[in-house]
């Protein structure tokens, strides 16, 4: 079987495998889920290692295609087409690692385990399937396949009195976003007249025969806002902190860490290469809106009294940097954005994993009730501190590399926004992260936490894996950037000429952004 297919089919098959297991054999259910995600993770790592050696077809490696639905009468074919390049490689690998970590941390679930693990595995399979698919039909289908379990899991296994409201809100927003994006995708399909959903074919077509500027200007914002809502673009972000605060740990980890990246991936993979003129028109708006994430959500995070809401808002703020990198349309900025997508995935999983554990142990995430936990919980405390430090852009972690590249890459196109973003990354991020450390981990500990026990091995393994991943990214960024760079260069170059331009090597003194193509932000 094709390696890429195996990565997402193993969890889906495991979901089927769990069905006949009696619900009383809980360890069996859990074992199947753990094995499946572990195998998927190993396959993901193998993919990463073998990536450079694989031959590329149309720029994609491990390319595999077979017809799935063929309707000769109307000439429509939907193909099963998978492949990876530098853009989605890291996302797939990160996804498999987060999936394994999330499954490990699912030990907290104590009711309807069977249904839970089935849904979890469907969600994982859907996420990974979406990121390897090169056919828009499957891309969208797998995304929905992952999204639906998300809603159900929050509704059933979620916590807090407001979880129904949270479920309602997240479902409403994400369905709306997906619907708007769908409208855009359908219009894209109609515009091409190719009668195929194949991403490679469509991209090639639109680069050879650019779509009319008026259509681009209309369709691009549909995708931008549709995908944007899925990634909590300001001001459509409020679902995220609420949703994650009430979600079960694994769901929050998987959605915030991996599934959410789908919108960004769609923007980069579909919207920008197919509609460069639309992008030129609208990316300035995106850059302005992302300031809402970077600055505004950072300020909001400073005020939160609940640890999960603080983390949720900071996660939304970090997404703003990814938007900024994409909006810069420079080689450095977009590469940084891709790096940051991966780092953000690890970090979101790590922070939600730790805070979820804390909530399960203490029954609360209210910051004021904590304090001094570092002494009682040396392991969890230390790693929470590491996560907070990674979150405020400390060098040594992948997030620093990503943010650093985004800032350097977007300077040319959006100097003022970049300046504010530096302030936000270093100072505002520092303020809320250090406040969290101060109030949760440092200081005097309340008597009631005297009986807390530190994490067991099932919690330690995923936490260590995620942290090591972040460190590897931060210390050896070229592991990723060398793989990402060529494919980003192709996208960036295609937006410059509107045609099939070859990536031009950029000279250091002439940064990659072509200022007349990218609108300056209006200040």
């Amino acid at each position: 079987m094709n390696l890429l297919s195996a990565i997402f089919l193993v969890p889906l098959l495991a979901a089927v495998l769990i069905v006949p297991i009696p619900r009383t054999i809980r360890w069996g259910i859990r074992l199947v889920a753990l094995m499946a995600t572990f195998v998927s993770m190993v396959l993901g790592l193998a993919l990463f290692v073998k990536f450079d050696a694989a031959t590329a077809v149309n720029g994609f490696k491990f390319d595999y295609m077979t017809d799935w639905v063929s309707l000769p009468g109307i000439g429509l074919t939907i193909a099963y087409h998978v492949g990876v390049d530098g853009i989605n490689l890291g996302l797939v690998v990160m996804g498999t690692i987060v999936a394994f970590a999330a499954t490990c941390l699912s030990k907290e679930i104590d009711r309807f385990e069977k249904e839970y693990y089935i849904l979890l595995l469907i969600m994982i399979g859907g996420i990974l399937g979406a990121f390897v698919s090169l056919d828009i039909f499957f891309l969208y289908f797998f995304h929905e396949l992952a999204l639906v379990p998300t809603f159900i899991m929050i509704g059933i296994w979620g916590r807090g009195p407001d979880r129904n409201h949270a479920t309602f809100k997240i479902t409403l927003y994400l369905s709306l976003g997906a619907l708007i994006a769908l409208a855009g995708l359908v219009m894209l399909y109609l515009q091409s007249g190719l009668k195929t959903f194949d991403l490679v074919a469509l991209t090639g077509h639109f680069q050879a025969h650019p779509m009319g500027e008026a259509s681009q200007r209309l369709i691009f914002p549909l995708l931008m806002f549709g995908f944007g809502i899925l990634v909590s673009l300001w001001p459509f972000h409020t679902w995220a902190p609420t949703g994650y605060a009430h979600a079960p740990t694994a769901t929050a980890m998987l959605h915030a860490g991996v599934l959410k990246k789908f919108g960004l991936y769609g923007l980069l993979r579909i919207a920008i290469p197919m509609m460069p003129a639309g992008a030129a028109e609208w990316l300035g708006v995106l850059a302005l809106l992302c300031l809402g994430n970077i600055l505004y959500c950072g300020l909001v995070a400073m005020k939160q009294r609940d640890l999960n809401f603080l983390i949720g808002n900071s996660s939304v703020a970090h997404v703003g940097f990814i938007f900024l990198g994409i909006a810069s349309l420079s080689l450095v900025g977009v590469t940084g954005a891709v790096v940051l997508m991966i780092a953000h995935g690890f970090l979101a999983a790590l922070t939600f994993g730790l805070s979820g554990w804390l909530r399960q142990q203490t029954g609360t995430t209210e910051i004021a009730k904590f304090g001094g936990l570092l002494r009682q919980l040396p392991f969890v405390g230390t790693f929470l501190m590491i996560a907070m430090m990674a979150g405020c852009g400390l060098p040594g972690f992948g997030n620093f590399v990503g943010e650093f590249m985004v800032l350097f890459g977007s300077w040319q196109a959006y100097p003022v926004i970049t300046g504010i973003a530096i302030w936000s990354a270093l100072v505002i991020g520092g303020v809320y992260m250090l406040r969290a450390i101060r109030d949760v981990l440092h200081g005097q500990m309340d008597e009631q936490w005297k009986s807390l026990r530190d994490a067991d091995v099932f919690r330690r393994v995923p936490v260590v894996i995620l942290t090591v991943s972040l460190l590897l990214m931060g210390i050896f960024p070229r592991l990723l950037t060398d793989k990402i760079k060529p494919d980003v260069a192709r996208i960036v170059a295609s937006t410059k000429t509107g045609g099939m331009a070859k990536p031009t090597p950029s000279s250091p003194t002439k940064p990659v952004v072509n200022s007349h193509e990218v609108p300056k932000a209006h200040h």
């Binding site: 005020k303 300046g419 200081g443």
Partner: protein, 630 residues
Amino acid sequence: MQPTHIAEYLAPIILFLPLAAAVVIALFVRDDDEQSAQFSIGSVGLAFVASVTLFLLGGGRHEIGATWLDVGGLQVSFGLLIDDLSLLMLMIVTGVGLLVQIFSKGYMKGDPGYSRYFAFLSLFTFSMLGIVLADNLVMMFVFWELVGLSSYLLISFWFHKPSAADAGKKAFLTNRVGDFGFLFGILLVWAATGTLNIGELATKLAVDPHLLGAGATCAGLLLFCGAIGKSAQFPLHVWLPDAMEGPTPVSALIHAATMVAAGVYMLCRLFFLLTPDALEVIAVIGAVTSFLAALMAFQQNDIKRILAYSTLSQLGYMVMAVGIGSPNAAMYHLTTHAFFKAMLFLGAGSVIHALHHEQDIWKMGGLKSRLPGTYRTFWIGTMALCGVWPFAGFFSKDAILSSALGNGAYCAFLIGTLVAAMTAFYMTRLVLVAFGGVPRGDGVFGCHESPSVMTRPLWLLAIPSVIAGFWGIDVYLAETLPGGHGHASTWYEAMFAPINHSPLAAMFGLLAVAFGHAFARRLYANAVSDPLPLSAGLLAKIMRDRFYFDEIYAFLIRISQGALSTVADWFDRWIIAGLFVRGVSGFTDLFGRALRMLQTGNLQTYAFWLAAGIVVILFLTLPGAKGAGH
């Protein structure tokens, strides 16, 4: 790049030894106090030996590195640069670090976080060596941040104490404000020149001095912001006094000798980037800091805080030296200051240790006879700090004063002389009150001298505090940094060089010391309480309350960033999540109801709706596809 010269082999070893120690302690021996200390001290000791070896093998400029990041126009290497400047700094950091760690072995005995302490110290040493060796701006920034982290960890080492936890947070965040400027400055330099390598930058700027264009001053000043934060210059000086919440050896190593010197070191490294306008601002900031901090030191009663304000003041001195165009003198003073200030802090640590954590000098008194070793070394340190001939501080301070005169910076000269007098005043006060007179606290009676593991490092630091003035540090640096005037060839020539070279500066310096000392002696000899508040009244209170900087900043933050975040939070809660979302949900009420109906928790229903949805989509798109096809 393949290493070819021995320096290129040794530099990475020096850098990574302490990191290795930190990792080993954290992962393997964290339950074994003794081994933790051995690993930490051993690694910094080896690094020191390697640094001295490099120095003895002779200078030369060596660079080694590997590409860390290479995307488009952004090329960053993990590069190490070994030249006279970094070599000097390597020896200071590892040398002082070694002695401080040995001292810590005694000072921290019995602390439950003993291993953690040494792991953090090793992490700090690694980060600091990274700044010293960095050959490009990004690496420097990376280690800059790591130094900020290790300083944070060490200040809030006793994190269960709210004051220590708050102090650590304050230090980190204040530094972050400076780092904002630093990173912005790096960005501007890169955007203008296309390179981040310091050597390359110097070459490019030598070819085309106007390469940085109109933003040159701005870029220089932004980089200087980093130094303002790390070297605790006005107006970001507020974190350093609070940082005294950390263990005293930490104050000696990090908040006196090395980390806070990083800002000055960075300015010397990047001196070629700074325009005359930028230098002028730097000189003013340095002068203001040194003067204000000396004033604030007048009325402090905590032995560590007096030394902290003294450090601020001396750092201001160094920054001022850079500003008047004499980085050579700045580095010179940095070196001598590292020795005697580390020793003074360790001496204070020895006193605090003996008195069971009493830090108020008015509860000391009469320590002269009870802690003889500590007293003598403290006395040497004070002489050096005040700048009494022939102690080391005299020479480096004189280098600054004479270059101020030589460069026509008379204001700087006046402030420098004034600060010299003030330094003599508050240090004399400290020594007289703490060590002289009669015991005023109960703790004094039973106290006895610290163990030799603590007093020996004091003596070892006393040696360079006395003789570092005739080593010819300025001559050694003269090739790398402008501003030096040394041509003395022998040590006894060097001893009298200042007086021969610029008698006016030397005279003024010594007179100032004598004046400050005499004044303090009049007030504080055998005093039982501070007479100054009575005579100076309000002024003394303002000095004691540190000119209300903390209160003013708290207010400013509250009305700016604090208010903004309150508004944002309110807006988020009530407008976006409230009106907006309810509006949307009202608008799509039907949609919402349908969803709620859908949300049955029944898997089959979901599967059904998903499939139905796909069918509907296909149905909708297919006829359209037909139409578009024609």
